[in-house]
Subunit: 176 residues, 4 copies
DNA sequence: CATGAATGAGAATTCATTCAT
DNA sequence: AATGAATGAATTCTCATTCAT
């Protein structure tokens, strides 16, 4: 995970992975059929943990706003702990050499869309294309989160979360 | 450009690039110092054209809303013409193997931020962190645009543009 | 034996041998110094059984013709039982990577040559180079026997044995 | 060819082949897709030359005896020139694994069988199973020829040829 | 200018062998 | 005695780069 996150999916070598893992090159092949399998499995594992956290947040009781904020907190804290994974998350969306998005990413979008529809039903948010909204919200959040990872001195997490919630819910237009 | 866009920055081989260009491998080295230079220059060239269009849109007279919409139209129409480049644009943000973002990306963000500040000054939009807003808006737009590229039957461009403008300006909260 | 016969002396892996034997890889090294020793010993064992049968046939009382036929029957019936070993027998003659023939093969040839000399002495067969004759006869027999192993529907054993005896003893020339 | 003949089909390494050929490892891959292709093609090439010579001998006018002797001379002189190939010829018959390079060998046997049938027709040799005879004769010849390659001081070629012709045509039985 | 054959450093993969349990 | 996880040397293969033509 660390090596792939650091070097990227193509540049990571079996040698470096072995060294980082503290085993010999050959040992890796006892656990993964080949390099491809290793990358795939590693990728899946890294992302599964994140999605589990986000789903847990979305599953809590409360208003849409509360759930959205909770999922946002989950995402931010995950990357706070695993700064290196931002590149994996990045690749999740449009993996090299494939035109399709990753299944897990699409599933997460679908869950977000369904939550949005519920909120529309309850009148909490306006009626709009739920799938597109899910995409826009997810990526807006990711953008800030990924940016934080590479920033020397990012603002407090709460500031970014508040800004995102504020922008998503009320837009940027002035209402004076 | 085509090969790099198709295969990705790491997977593109000099052989395939030469074939697509209709020249011999060696010939490439008459025009580029090495593979790195080729990738960098190609990347820059692909992106410069896009940024030029966006900047032109931003430079027009009018309200913030008008300029934002114009830049959005520019971006969408560019990728309508160059579907394959979405992967390059993708890489623009966090190039493999580097922790830094690409200079051009940061510059574009800065221009957007300064436009946002002008709009805040004029009272057109609320006072918020302009840099973060620039990031959020840019990425929300990119998310939809990139998604369109891989969609079989994307909705009409105007629908996506309207949705984005609407969401960015007014948020998703219901005001009944 | 089975694995080496099936895969060949070079392609057989310790892993597959261990699996077929129902033991762990490491266990093999309690019984054989290394892979080379295993292959050599296995080879020897497989061939010793065959040579014992042939020698028994040659040791019976009777005319040269009777003894030759008996040894032929022994050889054919052995490979009838152990079809997979033909590849081992094949390697017996000119082992890969060595220029020398296998000792046991040479010894068998020598025994055959001495039997031929006895038959010359007794006037049963013509005076010719006994060593070359032993070689020619042995290989002619092997050729048919090996061919039988790979044939879908080989002719009856007796037909092949009769043909070989006939050809060896009387040649192919017409005497009409 | 030389390396494969010397080391065997499995033990020959790309490194040694490259060195013997006086090129770099990578260069080989410009001419052969992979190791397998190299071995197959090399093998085929080595054998084609031999079979061409034998066929030329068989195609001459004359009695069966004359043609057989001519083909025998061809075979002996080929291996006189290319001593190292005996191992390739050896492998031709029952290649490790189950490669189908065997085809050329089978074709040659078929040609020999058809020549034998002609000789039976003309009454020059006795009526017997022509396919089995072709096999027996071919392998008897090969046996002597291969043995010559590994012998320190082989007898004169003519002696071996005479012995083979004599044995094949008239058998070993005494007619006193 | 252009070529493309040749290069060789570097990466992935295999497998005989070891050794702590 | 037996195990099998771990090792790493050896091998195949890729591809950016060079250079004689």
């Amino acid at each position: 995970m660390r090596v792939i996150a650091r070097r990227g999916m193509t540049a990571a070598t079996m040698q470096e992975i072995a060294e980082e893992a503290g085993v010999a090159k050959g040992t890796i092949y006892l656990y993964f059929k080949d390099r491809d399998a290793l990358v795939d499995k590693t990728f899946e594992r890294a992302i599964t943990e994140l999605l589990k956290r986000i789903d847990a947040a979305l599953a809590t009781e409360g208003t849409f706003e509360q759930k959205l904020r909770a999922s946002l907190v989950a995402k931010f804290s995950y990357f706070q702990e695993h700064r290196e994974f931002f590149r994996l998350y990045h690749a999740l969306r449009y993996p090299e050499g494939k035109r399709r998005t990753q299944k897990q990413y699409d599933e997460q979008l679908a869950r977000m869309a369904s939550m949005i529809e519920d909120a529309m039903q309850s009148g909490e948010i306006r009626r709009m294309d739920s799938k597109r909204l899910a995409l826009i919200i997810t990526e807006a959040i990711s953008a800030v989160m990924i940016r934080r990872v590479v920033e020397e001195n990012p603002p407090p997490v709460s500031a970014d979360i508040d800004l995102l919630m504020d922008t998503i819910l009320d837009g940027i237009r002035s209402h004076s």
